[in-house]
C-alpha cells in the first residue's frame, strides 16, 4: 500500500536528517489526500515530494520561531550513532558495511540543496523537469546543482579514502 510513502519518507529523511521526518511525511500525505482533487494528469510522485518539501520548510520555520529542540525518537539515536561512527567493529565489520556507513555520513554532511538533488535524481530517478518542479528552481539550476553535488560527494569520498586508508580501503 502507498508505494510513494517510501519515496516521501526517504526524501523527508534526507532533507531533515531527523525524527521530524515522520511528522513531515504524515503531514504531507494528509495534505496530498485533501488536495488530491486539484491534481489531474501530472506526476503523483513529483507532486507528493513537492508537498513533502513544503512541509519540511514549514517545519524548519516553526522550529526557528520556537527555537525548540525536538526530542529524538529511539531509532534516531541509532541512526545518529551510525552517522558518527567511523571505526569499524573489529569482530563483525565488513569493508562493505563500513563503506555504507561512510557514504551515509558523507552524504549527510552535504548542504541541503545538494542532498536534495542527489536523492531526487539518483534514488528517486526523477528527470530534470520533475526535480525542477519539486525544488522550485529552473532546470539550469538543477543541472548546475546536480553537477556540484556529485563533484562534492566525490571529493569528500576521495578525501575520506586518503585520510583513513584502512577504513575505506
Amino acid at each position: 500500500m502507498l508505494p510513494h510513502l517510501d519515496a516521501a519518507y526517504r526524501f523527508a529523511r534526507w532533507l531533515s536528517r531527523s525524527g521530524d521526518a515522520d511528522d513531515i511525511v504524515q503531514e504531507a500525505i494528509l495534505r496530498a489526500f485533501r488536495g488530491f482533487d486539484a491534481l489531474r494528469g501530472s506526476d503523483v510522485k513529483a507532486w507528493l515530494l513537492t508537498i513533502v518539501k513544503n512541509c519540511h520548510l514549514t517545519a524548519l520555520q516553526q522550529q526557528r520561531r520556537h527555537a525548540s529542540v525536538p526530542l529524538p525518537e529511539e531509532h534516531d539515536v541509532q541512526d545518529g550513532r551510525a552517522m558518527i561512527a567511523t571505526t569499524p567493529d573489529p569482530e563483525s565489520a565488513s569493508i562493505r558495511r563500513d563503506e555504507k556507513r561512510t557514504l551515509d555520513r558523507l552524504m549527510s554532511g552535504l548542504p541541503e540543496e545538494h542532498r536534495e538533488v542527489l536523492v531526487l535524481r539518483e534514488l528517486e530517478e526523477m528527470d530534470y523537469r520533475e526535480i525542477a518542479a519539486v525544488t522550485n528552481v529552473p532546470i539550469g539550476t538543477v543541472m548546475s546543482r546536480l553537477a556540484r553535488a556529485r563533484a562534492a560527494l566525490k571529493t569528500r569520498w576521495l578525501k575520506e579514502a586518503e585520510g583513513a586508508p584502512n577504513a575505506v580501503r
Binding site: Y9, I29, K100, R150
Partner: protein
C-alpha cells in the same frame, strides 16, 4: 579547467539528451579524456548511492500504520473543510476504531486507487509517446509489413504477449500497414500500425489487470486515446486530429464487440 561540455555530458549521463545531441556527446568523449573521466565518476557516484546508502531506505512499519490511521481518521470526518489545529492536534485512536471503520476503509480504498493507480499509468503515457516517436525513426515502424490482417495477427502470437484486434479499414481511410513488437509496462506489447493520409497511427495493446484505463490525453502534441477490451488495454497514438484518431478507435471497438459475440 573544466571542459565546456561537462554539463551536457552530465545531461547525457542522465538520459536528458535527444538522440542527436547524445551522439554528439559520445563522439566528444571519445576524444576528451576529461569528459570520459567525468562519465566514469558519474557512474561511480550513482552506483554507490543506489547500493550503499542505508540511512533512510524504508519507513518504519509503525509510521506506515500511523499514517494509515491518520488517513482513516481524516476520511471519517464529514465535510471537506478541516482546520489546521485539527491536523497538528492529531492523536492516534485505538487501532480497532480504524480497523472496523467502514467509512475509513472505503476512503483508504479510494486513496489506494487514486494515489496508487496514477503512478502506474503515468509513466505508461510517457512510454507510449516515446515508443510512438521511436517508431517514426527510420526502420523502426514495422516488423511485419502486411496489409493483410491474417498475416499480421498470427505474427503477434510469436512475438508479443498479447493478441490484439487487427483489421484493415482502407475503405474508411485507415490503411493497415503492418505490426510491430514493442516492450513497455514490463511486457511485450503488440503495436498495429495504420496510415491515415500522411499520418501514422500506432495502436498499442497490452494486458492489464487494472479496471480503469487512463483518460484520453495529449502529450508533446501527440494524442493518446485509450480503451479497454477484455483484459487488453488499447492506446491509439498519433499526431492526426482528434476526430480522425477517434474514428479509428470506434472502428476497432466495433470489431472487438463483433468478435466477442
Amino acid at each position: 579547467m573544466q571542459c565546456a561540455e561537462s554539463l551536457r555530458v552530465q545531461a547525457y549521463f542522465d538520459g536528458e539528451l535527444d538522440a542527436l545531441s547524445a551522439a554528439d556527446i559520445e563522439r566528444h568523449s571519445e576524444t576528451c579524456a576529461e569528459c570520459r573521466a567525468l562519465l566514469h565518476d558519474l557512474g561511480y557516484v550513482r552506483a554507490a548511492l543506489r547500493q550503499d546508502l542505508t540511512y533512510a531506505s524504508a519507513p518504519p512499519p509503525a509510521l506506515r500504520a500511523r499514517i494509515l490511521r491518520a488517513l482513516d481518521e481524516e476520511s471519517s470526518v464529514k465535510g471537506p473543510l478541516r482546520n489546521a489545529a485539527r491536523l497538528s492536534g492529531w492523536r492516534p485512536r485505538p487501532f480497532w476504531v480504524g480497523a472496523f471503520s467502514g467509512i475509513g476503509s472505503a476512503a483508504i480504498a479510494a486513496i489506494a486507487f487514486f494515489v496508487l493507480a496514477p503512478p502506474l499509468i503515468n509513466p505508461v503515457l510517457d512510454e507510449l509517446v516515446s515508443a510512438h516517436v521511436r517508431s517514426l525513426m527510420p526502420d523502426h515502424l514495422i516488423d511485419v509489413v502486411s496489409t493483410d490482417k491474417h498475416t499480421v495477427k498470427p505474427w503477434f502470437a510469436g512475438h508479443t504477449d498479447v493478441s490484439p484486434v487487427v483489421a484493415d479499414f482502407d475503405q474508411q481511410g485507415y490503411r493497415l500497414v503492418g505490426g510491430r513488437a514493442d516492450y513497455f509496462d514490463r511486457q511485450r506489447a503488440a503495436v498495429v500500425v495504420y496510415r491515415h493520409g500522411s499520418h501514422v497511427i500506432n495502436v498499442f495493446s497490452w494486458a492489464s489487470d487494472q479496471r480503469s484505463v487512463p483518460e484520453n490525453t495529449t502529450r508533446n502534441g501527440y494524442h493518446l486515446a485509450f480503451w479497454k477490451s477484455g483484459n487488453l488495454v488499447y492506446c491509439a497514438v498519433s499526431d492526426t486530429a482528434w476526430d480522425e484518431l477517434l474514428g479509428l478507435v470506434r472502428l476497432l471497438q466495433d470489431v472487438s464487440t463483433h468478435d466477442a459475440r
